[in-house]
Symmetry: C2
Subunit: 385 residues, 2 copies
Amino acid sequence: MKELRQKALNLHKKFKGKLEIRVKVPLKTKKDLSLAYTPGVAIPCLEIKKNPNLIYDYTWKGNTVAIVTDGSAVLGLGNIGAKSALPVMEGKAILFKKFGNVDAIPICLDTQDPEEIIDIVKKISPTFGGINLEDISAPRCFIIEKRLNEELDIPVFHDDQDGTAIVVLAALINSLKLVNKKIEEVKIVINGAGAAGIAITKMLYKAGARKILLCDREGIIYKGRKENMNFAKEEILNYLYESKKGSLKDAIKEADVFIGVSGPNLVTKEMIKSMNKYPIVFAMSNPIPEIMPDEAKKGGAYIVGTGRSDFPNQINNLLAFPGIFRGTFDAKAKKITDKMKLAASQAIANYIPESKLSPSYIIPSALDKNVVKQVAKSVKKAVIE
Amino acid sequence: MKELRQKALNLHKKFKGKLEIRVKVPLKTKKDLSLAYTPGVAIPCLEIKKNPNLIYDYTWKGNTVAIVTDGSAVLGLGNIGAKSALPVMEGKAILFKKFGNVDAIPICLDTQDPEEIIDIVKKISPTFGGINLEDISAPRCFIIEKRLNEELDIPVFHDDQDGTAIVVLAALINSLKLVNKKIEEVKIVINGAGAAGIAITKMLYKAGARKILLCDREGIIYKGRKENMNFAKEEILNYLYESKKGSLKDAIKEADVFIGVSGPNLVTKEMIKSMNKYPIVFAMSNPIPEIMPDEAKKGGAYIVGTGRSDFPNQINNLLAFPGIFRGTFDAKAKKITDKMKLAASQAIANYIPESKLSPSYIIPSALDKNVVKQVAKSVKKAVIE
């Protein structure tokens, strides 16, 4: 850990940031200048003035995403603010470029007021072809994503919600193939009712799941609960099954699937033992999972996934977001719809042939760039259909 | 012109915009990912949280400029709005990169309210190491630049004001060497009281000029004038000489220097004839100057400069802005001061040895990248002194 610490600092210091601008057009002679800048540049300006849609032909807009954060919920670090969030946003930007050939620009906002964030994002949007919200705390992130999706004419994605949900669904689809269970029938317990937990609940519901229980620090979220509720938890009740008062330990009994997007060491071996046959356990708290994979196995877990790259089955957003935006841009889509998100999950799941699936291989490697291509293709196809 | 039109459109369409993101760090292996992204990226985040100034060590901030426009005064095209302005801002961005190795990001704002622009720029500023205001109409631009300079902790530059003024002063310094006159003694008439005209007036005053007359559509700007005034024109009265009612024709009589940042064909051969000996004429309206160089020569002009690349003495902002920001960033300066701007003018002027100066060579070529290096060096030196 100490070595990683020093190496990470050295890398960031050596390069002073992880991305830069590259010039795509020739710029050597007076003639080059006269085409790329004055007087030639006036022509595309006037064409866009006549037909605003031509901005996609003549500028970088159609390939460019703003990665917008307010620094309120950065990685596992919490509310560290706009400036401290910049290294993460740069990291996201280079993943967008390297994996999806999407040009992404970090925009770290020095405000945490949802109305201000909405207003600013709308007003800087002419430059960008899409908005990727990042590391904005729940439940504020739900309002911001919803409003921007309604009010902007470019696609809006909140990776902590949508990206996570897409990859979890992909992992679940393949896990269910292995245990020969149907999504409609399995009992699913999700722990953590922040951005990821709420989005996973909705996504699994849209994919057919009907027996979902959602827990937070207070235990099961149920109709009539008074403690620690918010508008997002009230709304999610419509997606939940037999939700009545109880602890996580109560909820997990006879569950087929446990999905953790909560905190370290919240699940015990005994809790896994109380699950239904062939337990599926996605313990995605980072860096320390809800239960370590070997503990989960001791409790009888059949399939274990985590967020970490040093265990099998890394459930990693990187499998989704570059391909989602690549496909959305290629299709010139103005929204990222549920259909497109479901197509992305299916593409990630189907990337592994059924014959190759095993309890330690339910999800492709995040470093395999062909996954992005498949996701982009499927997302684009979903738009066209 | 028709050919230029088609070539400019083809270029923009072929590349779909003129810039893209380039990844600077290795990103192939799991280990690369663990340093540039999670978990390693958390370390620089936490270091910046402890000491915000480290953002300059660990991110791209210290080399990155936002090119901010509201599309209200784009090139000679007027108020064409945020989207239509994007090709120009991309053009500016690639010049920043190619000439100054400065990473510049176009930010086209969908608002023309000065208070909103100030607020948004402040709130997006954590990502950026500097702000270059661009093509914002006068007198709004004066308020926006002043307020941002006071309220932000990063340098703010308005190229239409500062950039133009710096290059005009450089051209004037060399012209005065040729005619053996002193800036303190020459009578200077500036036509056009927008962003450029006001800024040139102030800059020449700061360089020693004391006999400046400023004209606009109504003629000479004088104390007590009621027509077509604004707060910027009221304030500039303090920099002006013997300002009394009169036309441009009245003003230009016996002037040593004419500087046009106004409109096409506003100056006649006869007006040049009425000037003092060895008239210096900078007719910078684009694409059609206040007077064409051959006409000006017929009227007896000794030195003629324009904004165009197809005549001698192109007075081009490109000589200033990349070097100004390069030097400012290299010096880690938080403001661009008058001293730094004057140093930039001197560096541009001194780039041509006195022995090489001639009436058709008073200013270096905008394509000569060594000028940028000299400007950057002088600006940095001005900071350190």
